[in-house]
């Protein structure tokens, strides 16, 4: 009886430990995808301001990464992954449909912009609208430091 209890306890704590590991793992994964957003967006920001010369290929690869990572991010915010070292706000799980909707919109906008942007003029007209979603989402779903 006691042995069975001990085995059960050990099993349960192992399970809990894996859950915690899986959670910190999932946070690392989604933060890595966000960091990649940041890394590819920085030079494009310079092109928008005119400080860096326009580079269509760099813009296109940034848009590809937006579409790819935004889709990959949707399953990385499961219920209960709001604890630990994360900047994700609880509001994500209170308004999950809105949150997922923003990621879907971001991916769709990026895909549409990939086709619409052919030169510097179309880049300057279309791109700011795509990355506006970053700020919209951070304002309501990411912890302010």
């Amino acid at each position: 009886m006691r042995l069975r209890l001990a085995v059960f306890a050990a099993f349960a704590s192992a399970l809990a430990a894996t859950a915690v590991m899986a959670q910190s793992d999932i946070i690392t994964q989604r933060e890595a995808l966000m960091k990649e957003f940041g890394r590819v967006t920085r030079p494009v920001g310079g092109m928008l301001r005119g400080g860096t010369p326009f580079d269509l290929a760099a813009v296109q690869s940034a848009l590809d990464i937006y579409a790819k990572n935004a889709k990959a991010l949707v399953p990385l915010f499961p219920e209960g992954s709001g604890g630990g070292e994360t900047e994700a706000l609880p509001s994500i799980w209170q308004k999950k449909a809105e949150f997922d909707g923003l990621l879907d919109k971001f991916a769709a906008d990026a895909t549409a912009a990939r086709a619409a942007i052919t030169d510097e003029a179309s880049f300057k007209a279309v791109f700011p609208g795509v990355i506006r979603t970053c700020g919209t989402c951070h304002d309501s779903f990411r912890k302010k430091s």
Binding site: I131, C134, K144
Partner: protein
């Protein structure tokens, strides 16, 4: 009683005395307007925060100017004249609680330290701004010369300092309104016109103004310090 004629023709001493020279007043109201615009430009300005950043650089120029003017400017603008020790601040506080504070032509001992606090906190807000990013597409002039960790820390400070600034500004405005409308010492008019009614002051009156030429010199030095400083540090001073 004198006849009205002799009163206006014979030299009567003016009814007011100089309290603040022109450069001090211009710097003060410019700073107030620019800090207001810093908030407006952040919340209602362009997405790239170009306006906010230029506005912030202008704030830095005015701040450096005000520090220089505190060293070489008009008498009431000088730090050495209006910064007094804790004893003076305490006895001024006690006199105020008793309802009979002495009037000062320049800053009173408590107000003098409030000026330092305001300059310090606005300075901290503006300096952290130079290293701030929104993590998306906006990177302020000095973000390219520091590590990602420093940038993240400065960005966090830039979000944490301005609430302190808002509290100080609230106290500052409340104290000035109270002196002007309850305390019988209209500080607000004085900061606009530069003059106060003749009277008994605890500090030296009238004030000695700093010259406009010297103020222009300070402005040139301040502008060179801000933009030259950013270039020397390896940044791009043009947002």
């Amino acid at each position: 009683m004198d006849a009205p004629l002799s009163r206006s023709t014979v030299t009567t001493p003016p009814a007011t005395v100089l309290a603040w020279d022109l450069p001090t007043r211009v710097a003060k109201w410019l700073l107030a307007a620019l800090v207001g615009l810093a908030f407006a430009s952040r919340y209602w300005g362009d997405g790239g925060l170009v306006w906010h950043q230029w506005n912030g650089l202008a704030i830095l120029v005015v701040l450096v100017f005000r520090v220089l003017w505190g060293l070489v400017g008009g008498s009431t603008a000088r730090f050495s004249r209006f910064l007094r020790g804790p004893g003076a601040v305490l006895s001024y506080g006690v006199a105020m609680l008793r309802g009979r504070p002495p009037h000062f032509l320049g800053h009173n001992p408590a107000g003098g330290w409030m000026v330092i606090a305001l300059l310090g906190v606005v300075g901290a807000q503006a300096l952290t701004g130079l290293f701030t990013t929104d993590d998306i597409a906006v990177y302020a002039p000095l973000t390219n010369v520091v590590s990602d960790e420093t940038m993240a820390r400065a960005s966090a400070w830039h979000q944490q300092i301005y609430p302190i600034l808002l509290v100080l500004l609230g106290l500052h405005v409340a104290a000035n309104l109270a002196h002007s409308f309850l305390g019988g010492d209209n500080l607000i008019t004085a900061m606009i016109t530069g003059r106060k009614p003749r009277g008994t002051f605890a500090d030296r009156a009238p004030a000695t103004p700093g010259s406009v030429a010297r103020a222009l010199g300070c402005l040139v030095v301040a502008t060179a310090a801000v933009f030259g400083g950013i270039v020397l540090a390896g940044g791009n001073p043009f947002p």
